[in-house]
Symmetry: C2
Subunit: 276 residues, 2 copies
């Protein structure tokens, strides 16, 4: 119908032929991806369950600006692709991971957020299961998972990202919460590139909120999992502990049993479940 309309309407065709797209100031458009993963730490003894940690993927920048600093994976939009396709491509290229799904975090378009000029970032959140192997060698970039800690100190919200001996710290101020999304302002960007501390803080607020309906927590786990592992994911994200009896009843409607069991753990074997 649209094509027919164009062909019928020679006046419009003529207009489009003469239309000069350079008439408007055009910004560059990028995507940044906040990729979350749950890292299990090995327990002390054979009996104790492991503790878990939320972690986020960062890339060491090889180019200016912010050379040698840590930044979110992402990059410039190419011809012929949508923003979402760009996000999938960038994270694949930079880390070898292909996420299951991407959730929009927001558009960051402050005029001076990038020293190179007018660059708008479309941020996405993605959830990576332990299965999705990080094929680190792909693009010869240094990509690592940083443990996330995000606490309200009273003075400010302190975002700490740690990987081995590298510790990045950012201070933020909580601005408004609109439509389930809390916006932050950078007080001290620490050693994170660009406004990426702010993007990560916003992504964490969205992650916590949307975990409540047990919709996306499954993406952190392989196809088959124990209910305790699922509870561990939940507790890691929202950072409170839950009573196992009630948790398993609440998520019962979202999962179904399999025949498989986990053995060799020093206690009663756990049934494996999958998402319904």
């Amino acid at each position: 119908m649209r094509e027919k309309y164009i062909l019928d309407n020679l006046e419009e065709k003529d207009y489009l032929d003469k239309y000069n797209i350079d008439k408007y100031d055009r910004p560059s458009v990028t995507t940044d991806i906040v990729a979350f993963k749950i890292r299990s730490q090995i327990g002390d003894t054979y009996r104790h369950n492991s503790k878990s940690n939320l972690s986020v993927l960062l890339i060491k920048r090889g180019e200016h600006p912010f050379k040698d600093m840590w930044a979110l994976p992402g990059g410039f939009l190419r011809k012929g692709e949508t923003i979402e396709e760009c996000a999938y491509r960038e994270i694949k290229e930079e880390s070898g991971i292909l996420p299951v799904s991407l959730m929009p975090v927001g558009v960051f378009s402050e005029p001076n957020r990038d020293p190179r000029g007018r660059i708008i970032s479309n941020a996405y959140l993605s959830i990576i299961s332990d299965e999705s192997v990080l094929d680190a060698g792909t693009d010869a970039v240094d990509a690592r998972w940083f443990d996330v800690s995000f606490v309200d100190t009273g003075d400010c919200y302190k975002l700490t990202l740690a990987c081995d001996d590298i510790v990045l710290t950012t201070c933020l101020k909580k601005l408004k919460t609109v439509f389930k999304k809390t916006d932050f302002q950078l007080l001290d960007e620490g050693n994170l590139a660009f406004d990426h501390g702010r993007i990560i803080a916003t992504a964490i607020s969205i992650l916590k909120d949307s975990s409540k309906d047990y919709d996306l927590i499954f993406d952190f786990l392989p196809e088959k999992f124990t209910l305790t592992a699922l509870q561990d994911v939940m507790e890691t994200i929202i950072n409170v502990s839950l009573t196992p009896a009630n948790f398993r009843r609440k998520i019962a409607e979202f999962v179904e049993e399999t025949e498989e069991m986990v053995t060799g753990a020093g206690h009663r074997p756990a049934k494996l479940y999958k998402r319904k």
Copy 2:
């Protein structure tokens, strides 16, 4: 801290001086605003309450492409403003309305969505109370409120927008629902400009979903309102009827009484409430 870093790092400064922003293909960036309002229809008799309708603001295009067709208000991003600021400015310029808040709908970036070239649209949803007068003369544009009907016919989702004798009809196919947002594909764009039918359909799905927590329905009403008016807004959006007794108990925690009453309605006067 950032400024200090730049000054200290002459190598980076040198890099930025030589950086040519034109190296990458740059799209044009626009915003489109889906502005919703509840239109009250006058009841049959002095006794009957009025029925309401969800309506959306459209602008008649004065320029090519899609000249003389109806489109969402919106326009190109300018230097020095964020995307959200651009959205506020555009709807103000085109309709005289200054919305209370804007909610992101999504980024529409299919390469061929605009015949003029690569143009990315950042869509926002806004809610307009009857108070925000439509100062129609502002920019000499033809802006009108269209009654919305959005129904599943079995074959497709039919979006019908009607204003007096103007009726615009669009057919869409439901794609996936991810993170509370349902995505649609245009089957027949009808007589709406660009992919605006798809944007409106997505906005309606978000509006319905986020009404459930009684968070944004208040934006449709003036500061003080009756609980029946609030229930009417709710019913209009989600398109089901509710029992008054239970509705008023459920929203009790979000509102507080005022001393004022509404009289002259032919029945017991209603207390006015305001948002807590």
